[in-house]
Symmetry: C2
Subunit: 137 residues, 2 copies
DNA sequence: CAGGATCCGATTGGATACTG
DNA sequence: CAGTATCCAATCGGATCCTG
């Protein structure tokens, strides 16, 4: 294992110790936040408890493109539930009523996501300027 | 456009005004941070200026799985460069020497990413416990 | 050495139809 | 209504080969 530069060795051992990779949740949660819908779902669930269908409808109004498919919404909610970010409530009526809301952990995660999103929005002009410059080369 | 719940209307108009979706950089930058390699690349570039090959080698030591392919490394560096997060330097020798480092904007982005990653690491045990609970149902 | 071109497998997300 | 199953297109990432 080469050590190409000063400082990177300690960095690597730090990462190994704290598990930034090696299937710690870091990779998968970052991927979740980076996917097509999760940040929007978190944003909506931050406002309270939502039924599946209602959530699907409001997400459609929040996205410029097409609506989320029922299948993908279920997939994303499951992923968030599995990681403990979202709690799921069911009444065993016919038809069943299912609702979702953030857990404390999910609310904290959304706080993190919101910070990053706010930063990107605040620097959006600079980013888009860089893109125009790069594309016009 | 229905308004299923109090507060979501102002949320939607806020998002439309500030462009949380609608191809503002928010979506694409979040996706970049969520992909297989970008956060690791930012982490390494935070330590200084790196040649392409050296960067590829150190990334291999930082990831538990396989090494990054040359093609994908170039792709990710281009994406970061296009958004103004990474600067690229070339000497027109034979063979050429190409190096990369973070811009001020990229350093700020890495600050954001680091915060989120630290949060995930700090809550990694809770997340993994939630997974065990969910999977054992 | 850096990176482009090509080919490929794996994953992601959307559309639709069906079930309790 | 919520969820699952199936099918499909698009995207992502890896492997290999080739060039200045």
């Amino acid at each position: 294992m080469p050590e190409p530069r000063d400082g990177i060795a300690s960095l690597a051992t730090e990462m190994a110790r704290h598990g930034i990779d090696r299937d710690a949740p870091v990779r998968s949660v970052m991927a979740l936040l980076g996917d097509r819908w999760t940040t929007l779902i978190l944003l909506v669930l931050e406002t309270g408890e939502w039924r599946h269908a209602e959530l699907k409808r409001v997400l459609a109004t929040l996205s410029a493109e097409q609506a989320i498919s029922q299948r993908v919404l279920t997939l994303k909610l499951r992923a968030l539930e599995r990681d403990g970010f979202v709690a799921r409530f069911v009444t065993h009526d016919v038809p069943p009523k299912v609702s979702y809301r953030l857990t404390g952990l999910g609310l904290a995660l959304q706080g993190q996501a919101r910070q990053t999103i706010e930063w990107i929005k605040a620097n959006g002009a600079a980013i888009e300027a860089a893109r125009v410059h790069f594309d016009g080369l």
